[in-house]
Symmetry: C2
Subunit: 201 residues, 2 copies
Amino acid sequence: MASLPKAILDLVTYFERLPGIGPKSATRLAFYILNAPESFSKEFSESLVALKNKIVICEECFGVSEEALCEVCRDPKRDKKVIWVVEKAIDMMALENVGGVKGVYHVLGGLINPLDHVGPDDIKIEELMRRLKEGEVEEIVLATNSTMEGEATALYIKKEVKDIGLDVKVSRLGSGLPIGADLEFADQATLSRSMESRREI
Amino acid sequence: MASLPKAILDLVTYFERLPGIGPKSATRLAFYILNAPESFSKEFSESLVALKNKIVICEECFGVSEEALCEVCRDPKRDKKVIWVVEKAIDMMALENVGGVKGVYHVLGGLINPLDHVGPDDIKIEELMRRLKEGEVEEIVLATNSTMEGEATALYIKKEVKDIGLDVKVSRLGSGLPIGADLEFADQATLSRSMESRREI
């Protein structure tokens, strides 16, 4: 039984380490690149290296940036009185793509998760409190996932804000049925939440 | 609405060009690499370049190799009297992974497809005939896909062998129900083929 040439196997190994890519997809991707023009693999390769060299963490919000401050934090039109708190930089981009955020962000870099030994000190909660203590912020929107960890982190932050005695409104992203969802197939927790958060129309 | 920093967007674009990877997956992959150790993106990047530099096409079977002849063609234990004819090098590897092939291969590099203007001269059929004319080959197994193009290519090769008057047995991969498949959901063509190819047990 012959195996693939080492140069292909190596690339397959790297593709396999990416999330959501299994051995078959990894092989297919490696062969795709083998058959693509040389310029493609060259530029792809350069772009992988450039990513690590050029991207830094924004000093203000801990999002991703090519400068000390990210595009949002640099933007004078953004409302610094409202901070949207997210787990990861990619979540920040998901909200940006919707386009409704006029405020700025704060990227926690994780969620409180005792099972994985991630406590409040391991994520950027202290840095968030520091921003709040500067006194300009009127509202923070806790836009963490609707998971156990997302909820726990949101509750922890809410409690911190109250304990410190800051005069900041704390809100949470709305939960309920996803748009287009079928009530029949919704899980109980989602359905129960959507019942609580019913609104007059 | 802020967009991703250019270095990330660039990488997303390259991932998006890969088969089966949409915009959301591409973004997720780029962020995964951003968060992975620098050594990962460096080695991944080097492996992309190495692929193009090191891999050549085997002179004998047109499979992939790091030397003039591929691992299978170099192997003296392989039975050169049986040639398995496949469309792509990745198909050759799929058969190798099963482990039942004692013969050698011939990679056509495509299938006859008039709609895409791919004729018999655009794939390695002439090269296959040249190998057959050397007189050592006793059987060719047409292991092309069970698609219109795969069938057409197999039939064309079968006819060529006959026209030239070569004394070579031509066989085709068996078709029928995939193992584990449910008869109820099988398509008519597959079911009909499995009925024709029924065997005594």
